[in-house]
Symmetry: C2
Subunit: 188 residues, 2 copies
């Protein structure tokens, strides 16, 4: 990958940090480009060099962080482990815990649904991968089933984050795993 100019890295990080900070303070529709540029201590015009508007910024911000999460969950694993759902469940909860400020802001923030939507889409992708590799009980391979599972899964995770993470990552991963087992979701 061609190395990125360090000015771009710094600018983007400043924008992202400012944005996440502001998202934890007030609702998305109360945040202006002005606010972001002031908080990030950069020229307002500079934001437009990287993002078309604040919706684009929100979009890319979520994409990047969910991408980091996925990476974190799969990076240190072998191909076999990667498809073992429990080995990914635990790091996922841990990652959310470590980035509490970001994800709780995103979820508590009125006026944005794209975070939820992206979580759903990510889950569906994950489920499809498990189906294609035969890890999942084929009987669940219908779009309604997939949607049902994704909604349940994402809803549970979101509930956990929004309610200040009332259980440990270990506990949550184990509980979800138990549910999956009880429903014979995974092939042995």
């Amino acid at each position: 990958m061609p190395k990125v100019d360090r000015r771009i890295m710094k600018t983007k990080e400043a924008i992202n940090n400012a944005f996440i900070q502001l998202m934890s303070e007030r609702d998305f529709n109360k945040i202006t480009i002005n606010d972001i540029s002031e908080r990030a201590n950069i020229n307002r015009g500079t934001i437009y060099l990287h993002y078309t508007d604040k919706f684009d910024l929100l979009d890319k911000c979520i994409d990047e962080h969910l991408g980091n999460m996925l990476n974190f969950c799969t990076s240190t694993k072998t191909g076999e482990e990667r498809l073992n759902i429990f080995h990914s469940l635990l790091p996922m909860f841990k990652y959310f815990e470590e980035n509490y400020l970001l994800y709780s802001s995103m979820l508590s923030n009125k006026g944005i649904s794209c975070f939820h939507d992206k979580m759903i889409r990510m889950s569906i992708n994950g489920i499809n991968e498990l189906i294609n590799t035969g890890k999942i009980n084929q009987e669940y391979n219908k779009d309604v089933d997939i949607q049902f599972m994704a909604s349940a899964f994402v809803g549970t995770v979101e509930w956990w984050i929004k309610n200040d993470m009332p259980h440990s990552p270990q506990f949550m991963a184990q509980q979800l795993w138990n549910i999956f087992e009880r429903n014979q979701l995974f092939n042995p």
Copy 2:
């Protein structure tokens, strides 16, 4: 004053922070321009746009921070208070306490004497101002006396900083003030 480009502000602050950090870790002559640019996350060449070499950087760094100190000691005061030595002693000790990392690095660091020299010069300037305004007992108005007083004063402050500030700013200011009174240094 004409407003400075915000890029310059950011670059200088990054350089200064990196430099102070490094000064607290190792001796000045073990610090390279390379180290500073890496720590500051800026291009090495950029340093040369603002400083001729690392000695110049050290010099300007000290000047700036001692300037801040002077400012802090005199800013919130009226003209009368400003020349009342006790009203400046206390804030001085407080300022050093608040910027402990910086000043203890400067003093503990082998290979630099300019910090001490600048402190002496600053004290001499202060004493001269007090003489010119008649605040100081005229009998002390000889260069040897001035040098004696400045050395004693600076040496005491440096001792306090180097030995991890064994007394409170209040105590130090009071003790110094007592010494001045005992020697009838100041006119009533």
